[in-house]
Each structure stands twice: as C-alpha cells, then as structure tokens.
Amino acid sequence: MLNIKINGQSIQAEAGKTVLQVAKEHDVHVPTLCYHKDLNPTGNCRMCIVEVKGGRFLQAACVTPIWEGMEIETSSEKVMKDRKLTLELMLANHPVDCMTCDVAGECELQDLAYEYKAEVPAWGAKGTRYKADSDPNPFIRVDMNKCILCRRCESACAEIQGRNVWGVAKRGFDETMVTGAGVPMLEARCESCGQCVAYCPTGALSNKMNYGMARAHQVKKVTTTCSYCGVGCQFDLLVKNNKVIGVSSNPNAPVNGMALCVKGRYAYDYIHHPERVKKPHVRRYLLEGNAKPIVNRKSEIQNPKWDWVETEWDVALDIVAKKFGELRKDFGADSIGLLTSAKCTNEENYLMNKLARQVVGTNNIDHCARL
C-alpha cells in the first residue's frame, strides 16, 4: 500500500493503480474523455490532467501510476483553467449543432463543456472540414466533423472486436480517423458490430437506423437479454411511444459489457415487423381434428386444410403432446427427436433437454447451432 494525498486528503492506495482509479475509488471527480474503463488508456485528450506536487508538467490521471508520497491536486486553478482551454480547443473545430445533434444529452463533450462552462471560440473550423454522413455503412453514421480524436473507436475495434478497422491518419491539425486504407468501412473488414458507436463520446459515430428519431431523454430504456443466441448478452432497448426504436449497450451487462454483435445491436426491426409470428401456428387439419390430407408440393398452397392457422399456446401444445404420446406408444420413444434453437437461452435449452430425456424418454436432442 502506498500513502498518497489527493486534494489534501491522506489516502492509502494499492501500488500499480493510476491516479484516476484511486480518485474514483474515493469519489474524487476527475473528468475524462478519451479514457474508458473497458479500454487501454492512451492519455490523448488531456482532460484528466491533475497537478502533482513537484512535477514540471500536469499529468494525465488516467495513465499516471501513483507513487509513495505523491501529492495530487485534481482541481487547482491551473488544472481547471487548462481543462477549460483544452475543451475550447476541441469545441473550436466541432460543429455548434447541439440543437439538432442526435446524441445531445448523452454526449460527453457536451457534458464537459457544460461542467466547465467552456465557450465555443469565435475562431475554428466549426465542422466544415468533412462531409457529414460520409460512410455508406448501413448501420453506422460517420460525421468526422464531430470527432475530437479521442481514438476510443480505434481501441474498441482493436481491443474488443479484434477487427482493427479504425485507425488514425495524417498528422497534426489534419489528423483524422479512418477505416482501413482510407476506404469505406465495409471494405475495411468492418462487421458493423457498432462497438465504435457505443464507445464514441460524441456524435461523430452514431446509429443510422434511428438517426433523428429520439434523444436519450426521450426514450425509455428497457434492459433485456438478446434473443439471437445463447450467449445471453444484455442490452437496453430504446422505447419511444411503446415502440422499440433502437438498442444501446448497457455498461453493466454481466456477460458482454458494452459489446454486441451486428444482430444484437442492429437487427431489432423484426420486433414491429408486420409479418412477425407472435403466436403459434398450426395446420388447419390438425386444429380441426381431421386426417392429414394428401398433398403434393403443387397443390399444397391451394389446399385449405394444409393452411397455417394462428392459435393459442394451449391449443398448440395440446396437439403436440397428444401427437408425441401417440407416436411414443406406437413406435417407441426413440422415434421422437427434439431440435431446439441456438436462439433460445441456455435455460430454455436445458429445459428442452429435460423434456426430451425425462418426459419423452429419448436421447434424441440437439439444437440448430450449426452456424
């Protein structure tokens, strides 16, 4: 344990921790922008600078390890002044369009500007340097004007998704984020997982499908488990007017954290799709208790007895139970096989296994994860 002082308060902290970690543990607020707890800190943005006694320069709290006897000031006059000015340098080249920006309300830059009362300088490029919505990716909207070069997208893509799509190009004031060798995202091996969007602190990367549909405070967040596979990722459904309009990462999700795949994050439009099957469907002849009609592929569609009819779960399950019973009686339990789905949860799959082995009495159980 090391003895350090933060803002005059003596603190014992574990060696190897950074100033930011210790500050967080002791409820000392240090603002961050390029830092994210899931990603390797880079120390680019210089928002988390703190004053260390005896140091020639201000130190970035996110990357400075603590040492014995360290004395830290997290909100001295110099620090506050520099943070505000750094913010203003970012704002000078950031479009002043918070009124129409999609992420207003959940934008970390906006929050910091508010916190530090940072004015938008009269000079600067103000979002005229790049084309808005510059990438044809169907899910991800790119507006480099809003980028503050924190490089979280690069880290998220490399460290979480392992795709290495995002990177940095050019240098100095012209520096910009690019995908691949300056090609559109999909050509740069992007699999549209949207991790970069989830980690982007500004509106530089946002979701295309619900762009302009609602802001953070206008939606209800409903935490749910993804229904696409058995991993059990959790995320928040964004609900507006009783309609799901999007998905956002839930940082507290136990299995996946902020990470999601393209299906979990963007394939939610089936929810309100008019053709979505919401109730069990049964062939009409079964529902009416008739014998199986003789059908062939050509006549199939014309034969009304062969139609799918929407019904209630109890009705459908009764039919299945009855049929299973008959089949088992006539041909033995092993004449029955159960195939479940990779889209079911682990728990559901477990129950299906119980049903097969203990209720039906067969080991013929499998599921469809043959992706």
Binding site: T42, G43, N44, C45, R46, I49, F57, L58, A60, V63, P65, K78, D82, L85, T86, L89, M90, A92, N93, W123, G124, P138, I148, L149, E154, A158, N164, V165, W166, G167, V168, A169, K170, R171, G172, F173, D174, E175, V178, T179, G180, A181, G182, V183, L186, E187, A188, R189
Partner: protein, 578 residues
Amino acid sequence: MKNKNNAYHPISPEIEELARAHEYQPEAALEVLKEIQTRHSTLTTEAITDTARALKLPPHQLYGMATFYSMLSLEERKKVLRVCDGPVCWLKRSSKGSDQSSVISNWSSMVDGQWSVERTSCLGLCDRAPAVLVEDEQAGPVEIGDAKKVCKGWRGVPTEYSKVRKGETRVMTALIGKIDPDSIDDALANDVYSGLKSALQKESIAVLSEVESSGLQGRGGAGFPVGRKWRFVASEKRTPRYIICNADESEPLIFKDRVLMDTNPHQLIEGMTIAGYACGASEAWIYIRGEYESQARRLENAITQAKEKNLLGAKILGTEFSFQIHVHRGAGAYICGEETALIESLEGKRGEPRLRPPYPPTSGFRGQPTAVNNVESFCAVPHIMKNGADWWRNLTGASTPGTKMYMVLGHVKNPGLFEAPFGLTLREIIKKFGGGMQTGSKFKFALCGGAAGTIVDKNMLDIPIDFASSQKGISLGAGSFLICDQSVSPVAFLRELLHFFAAESCGKCTPCRVGTWRSLEILDRMAAGKGQKGDTDELKTLAALMQDSSFCGLGQSVPIPMNSVITHFGAEFAKVEN
C-alpha cells in the same frame, strides 16, 4: 449486402516478394512502403492494403503511416524536389527579399513537369541554406535562379569544416578533412577504434563506470547523464537489450550529427559498439532521418567495412562480444526525434510518442531494455575510452565535462559548426567563433538551442550557456545559435517557428494539435500586420496550456520560444495588435 471489394484476391506478387525479402517482419512496414513508392511513384490503396496483408498488419496502420510521414505520398509524383521551409532558409531568402509563401510556386514554375515541388520542414542543411532536397540528394546553397542547374545535377557547394576556428577544441571533429570517411584503413590509421579495443580489454562494468565517471551528458538537448542511462539498461535482467542511435536530426538549426556522420562514420559505430558492450546489448539501430540518404549510405558502407575487419559482427576482435548495427531510415517526421516516437517508428508504426513510464531503458524497442542516445553522445564515448574519464573531465575548464558541437547561424560573418567547451557566452559565440556580426548588422536577438529553444535579446549576451542555463532563460539545447539582426521581425520569426511546429505536431494530444495550429493562425495575421486586440494574450494562454498539458516534449517545448520572445519583444507584438 454484396461487397465486391471484399472478394478475395491474392496479394500482388511484387509486394509478396518485398515482404518476403524482409522476412514478413511487421517492423519492415516503413521500408516496404518506401520501396513501393520508389518503384511506382505513389502509394495506392491497393498497395497499402496488400502490404498490410503481407505483413499481417491492419491496413489502417499502414495508411496511417503513409499519411503521417512526409516523404510518403498517396499522390503520384515522378521526381520530387523538396524545398526547405526551415527558419534558417527563411532567413536567407527573406534577407534577399524573396517571399517565403511564394517559394514553392516559384520553384514549380522553374522546373519542368516531371518534377513535383513541395515544402519540407528543415532539411538539416542549415549551413547550406537555402537548401533543397533533390530526390534523395542534398543541395545547397541554391537560389531559385539555380533551379535549372539543380535539375541537371548541380548540388551546390558543401560546407568545408577541415579548417579549425580560433579557440576550438577538436575532439569529435579532430579528423575532419584528415581521413577519407569511406575508408576504414584511413580511420584505423588515425586511431579510430582504439577506444573500442581498450574497452574490450576491460570488464563491461568497468566501461560503464568509466562513462559514468566521465560525466558525459546526452547531447540531444536534454543533457541526461549517458552513464546513468546505460546503467539502467545494464541493470535490467531481461535480454536482449538494444542500443539505438538517434540520428533523426530534424530540429531546425541543427546539423551537427550530419557533419559527424559525414566526416567520420566509424567514430559513431565505435561509440555504439562500446555502448553495446557496456550495456550487454547485442544489436543496435541507427535511426537516421530519411532526408540524410547519403549519410545513411555512408554509415552502411562503414558498417560493412567494420564487419570485414571484425570490429563488428560475431566475436569482435576475438572476444566473446558480438554486436550488430543496422541502419534504419525515417521518412520525414520531426516527432521521431522524441525517443519513444522513434521507437514506435522503428517498430513499423506511426511515429507517435508513447506513454512514459515505462521509459526506454526499462521497456523500449520491442518492449526490451533500450538505450537511446544522440549521435554526438556516442561519438564522444570512444575518446573517453581512449583517454580516460579524467581526461574528459579536464579537457576544458568548464563545469560541464567534455566538448560540445556548436552551430552558429544567421547574420554572423562566419556561420557554421565548431567544437568547443561548455559555458560559452553568446557574445563569445558571435565574436570569437562566428567572426562577429555581418557588416551592417546589429545584434537583435538569437534563437538558442534549436527551434524549441529560447529567444534572447542583447541583455543575455554574457550568460555562460550550458544545460543548466535554461533556468536563466538561455538554453543550450542541441547547441545551435541563430543570430538575427535588426532586419528580422521577432513576430515573423516566431511565425516561422510555429509554422514548423504546426506542421510537425503528430496530432496525438489536443493541446499540441490544436494549440500549435491556432497559434500559427494568430501569428499569420500578426506577421501580416493585421493582429487583433488580445492576440498576444491568447498566444500566452495557448503557450501555458501547451507547456503544462501536452503529451510529450514537442508540445511542452513549443512554448519556450513563444514565451521568451514575447518576454523580450512584447512591444513589437503589441505594435501589430490593431
């Protein structure tokens, strides 16, 4: 969604071949890109992507490099003529009345269509200003009127340093003009490598102690004790350990390393080999800036010769010590002179500074213990080995041991390079070594150290300059002094410096990326006489921010000239605020 661009296609055989020649080493990325550019005059998206695939790197990394290094280009250029935009060349041109902003267009109009003319930050040819780089050949001094001649192969007149100036103490420069730098026999006949021979007879720890007790301080500008750095490396348990020579001499005003490598390459190789022996390292790299192609070739030639004489390679001079030196060329980036950025670049990435700690002696090249030293630091080592630490300490009467390479430039009669003790005053540098001010010139201010040095007025002429004198407001830095007379406007001069820093900021951190750009914007209008109220204050505010909050030494030192010039010449800044 069908994406035909993602359809598989084999890597182009040419790139595959190049990658194989480099054993598919990701570290070779820069070399491969440079080679492709040389062959095809450009780097296409396909070539970059294929190189990335061949070297198993993400394409964005190579694209990032291609757009980071100024010598790489995505545009097609047949032959490239790079016109130096450094402050010394600016001074030379502006004293002849030519306008810097039109230099590029003027040159373009003078050469035929197959030449692409572009600006470049300081070429390190300040003693040959105004300078240009013709493909990879250095030329200077050349005026626009010489353009036709330059295209035909004329390269100006190299500066001659064999004549010893009055008051010089020549140690590292002793053999200038006395040996053929391309001949190892000449070098051996003049006692080069005898320092290595005496080092190899000692225990490595004794060599380390000798360098430590010599008090040799790093000559790159910061003055960190060389022996202590080596001790850190040697005391790391992990092997392999590496030695890196920082020959990325890209700071405006500085060209001493070029002269050292040009005139006596064996001295550097000897110094690095001794460093390797002392630190227990087996391999070394000379990271030389891409603009120093002829010096790089000279070093490669020297390395080959040294290997033939068993002064390098396996079991040097029959001992158990083996050592390899490689030459690695940069591709145009000032920031690569920052040691961690240099290491990043050497590893085949964008030259952006790393987080520190860990420092290179703990975790440097390939994450291994690495000693990074300046060319001049290495060049001093053989002499310490040959003559002993006490000799080095007593070589001059100055408090800082040893000699230093100085460069004096600008409006003095006799600009150039000399070797002398520490603790010279500016007055001595101008009068004694520089031959006094030019006729008609009156001293107005001097930029001391390098581009990131202090700007001082006549009140500081008599302060002895060494690594500690920056506390008093005059810095030694890498030892360069640009003397300016009454014709030079401090505002316009500062604009030139910020122009350099804005062009060379890597862009990693906000204060430096936007701070240098904004400072330049303000200085642009101030230099044009159209400053606005509060401009000087804004410059001061930006300087304070960059100094306190920047990520690395580049941003932290930009404010040094800004603050010092505003302190001394605040009135001239106020004058252009309307």
